[in-house]
Symmetry: C2
């Protein structure tokens, strides 16, 4: 019945976040290339937690006092000076990450995650955990904001495509009166029948990362449901919902 | 040859305008429902100029000292107190507006127009003057920014659809490495084969204006090429390019 269902909205850029009421809302942070993909891989493969941090310095400092931790992050497609690992989801198999704490610095995704102040819950979404996110949302009966990390505040195709993939799957459960959501769904519909990665090869971010030789990484990020986990923010840590 | 053509970008909201370099750029201001549609209609029907202003008070003041002028603007779908006419393109036939100055107050479109400071040229676009805008752009050989007025900074479907209609028509002439442009083109492709208005009936703004009984107005705004004119900003006035 219209009006009685919770609402679902899509925020296309952190620069638009102030337009949305996140109180009592489940916020899904989306950073497909690659923060939220790496988070899904690490937690599904047994990481005890992921601590997302904004700066390399903070990453090093937290890594120093956290037992059994790994520091990770890239700048310009390379492992940042002073850190141990990169931002590829494929770098975190269970044999390596199980039981460890991943201290991860990324730019766009981490920044957005820290911008959301008053949500009921913050989770992270990626194609790797698409269906798990949708199932989680369906169980909450709360307003939802699908929040795209974008690229330095600029709209990007891959985050919006994922928002459309989620919105298309769960739309019957929500009141949708948000043009961003409609556009995300149209975008997703345009991709149906293609591989996600084929669709995304034309995006700015794909081209930027491909210039660093990260094509395989992006194929990994575009694989649906490889890591069925729901990462949820508890304090300053992302942990898997069990 | 890639790299030698000017670039074309789409800005989805005034809140993202700071991300774009508008210097030496032709900026197309888009406010389909209804400012830039009304501007096209008035100028094509012979208005000497349109003076876009932000507030009702300013509209009244400029109208008072401008000979042969008409003050117009709406708030909440009704003619604003103190003004003479509304913001419907159909209110400005040649028999009424020819030779007159239209002092027009609108919210989203006017605000964006005043935000752009250093463009080479500012013109306004709408479905009513779609092909005229495309032809004008093709003659300039300059970078282009298609700037959507949005709704109180929120992404909207109708302005983005128009940006996609323009970008789809002129894309061969430009370097496009902008995900907003790609998304606008996908949106436009989704509308092909439907009436524009049929496609837009699902948008937030359509529903908002339909609640004021403005359906016919919106059908008018969705009619391609009814008013083939290029409104260009000269100082504080929009005039038709001849």
């Amino acid at each position: 019945m219209p009006g009685t269902r919770p609402k679902l909205e899509v925020c296309l850029s952190p620069a638009l976040l102030h337009l949305y009421d996140t109180k009592d809302t489940v916020v899904v942070i989306i950073d497909i290339f690659r923060a939220t993909s790496t988070i899904a891989a690490a937690l599904h493969n047994g990481a005890a937690r992921v601590i997302p941090v904004a700066s390399v310095a903070e990453c090093i400092e937290i890594g120093r006092y956290t037992p059994n931790s790994i520091t990770a992050g890239e700048r310009d497609g390379k492992i940042a000076d002073g850190l141990e690992h990169g931002n590829s989801p494929s770098e975190y198999p269970a044999s390596f990450i199980d039981g460890k704490t991943l201290v991860l610095t990324t730019t766009n995704g981490t920044r957005l995650l820290h911008m959301v102040k008053d949500a009921a819950t913050i989770i992270t979404g990626s194609f790797l955990n698409l269906d798990a996110v949708c199932s989680y949302l369906a169980r909450q009966n709360k307003n939802v904001l699908l929040a795209c990390s974008a690229w330095k505040d600029r709209f990007n195709l891959e985050d919006t495509l994922f928002a459309g993939a989620v919105a298309s799957r769960v739309s019957n459960e929500y009141d949708i009166n948000c043009d961003s959501t409609r556009a995300a769904c149209y975008l997703y519909e345009a991709s149906v029948g293609k591989d996600i990665i084929t669709f995304l090869r034309d995006s700015s971010h794909y081209k930027r990362l491909a210039a660093y030789g990260l094509e395989q990484d992006m194929e990994y990020c575009a694989t649906p449901n490889l890591h069925p986990v729901v990462p949820i923010l508890k304090g300053k840590e992302l942990v898997a919902i069990h």
